[in-house]
Symmetry: C2
Subunit: 135 residues, 2 copies
């Protein structure tokens, strides 16, 4: 008996409109509805959602669900197709989003490359072409 998947991945941002711009417009994630005061919601695929919470709202006591709310730069890594790597760099450049670093992972079982950028809040977002944790 063990959990079968991560349904909700959470990061935090103080400006959810900026988060919506970054994750929906720049990264192209599906955003089924406009952000609330509490959170922006992105459908990643059939099994995963990304929730971006405003920690000044989500950490208040007395909410319907338990409180939480981290501060400081978090991190997520999103899978991209290897053949789209250069197209992603062009797209980010077109939106004026700086690439912080690129890394090649040649020594892993599943070799690949990563593009690192920062969302408007400063979270470290990685676009990665391979599952470097396999094996």
């Amino acid at each position: 008996m063990k959990p079968s998947g991560i349904l909700e991945t959470i990061i935090y941002a103080n400006d959810l409109e900026q988060a919506a711009w970054f994750y929906h417009e720049v990264l192209g994630l599906e955003m089924p509805r406009e952000p609330s005061e509490l959170a922006a919601f992105f459908r990643i695929n059939e099994h995963q959602v990304l929730l971006v919470f405003d920690p000044t709202v989500s950490d208040q006591p007395g909410r319907a669900a338990p409180s939480h709310g981290a501060r400081g730069p978090g991190h997520i890594a999103l899978r991209i197709e290897p053949e789209h790597y250069d197209a992603w760099k062009r797209r980010l450049s077109g939106f004026g989003v700086a690439i912080e670093q690129e890394i090649e992972w040649p020594n892993h079982t599943d070799p690949g490359r990563s593009i690192y950028l920062r969302d408007p809040t400063g979270n470290s977002v990685e676009l990665i072409t391979a599952d470097i944790w396999r094996g």
Copy 2:
């Protein structure tokens, strides 16, 4: 062109041994190797890993990869099977892990239930039987 999945979901903990106990022993997640000073690594399924970073290490400048490290309680939601709901409650009780709250989601397209607990660092961990974000 959009990312196809979240490969790495990250939360933070100052004591990675305690995190290993909680996520590997209590929740049963696969832990392919012992935690490093930097992070504990859990394989969730074929497409997802959970990384628990020590933010006092991961936020240092000059690492091989960009720095990050949030403080304060984060949140993740893990999928469990509806038929295991009561077995999970017994298992948590057996490990002395308190249930902070239970919620029913009857009004969603995919009705379900959630168990909320806290990991040793204070992150809010949800065990959920359904994809309440669908529809």
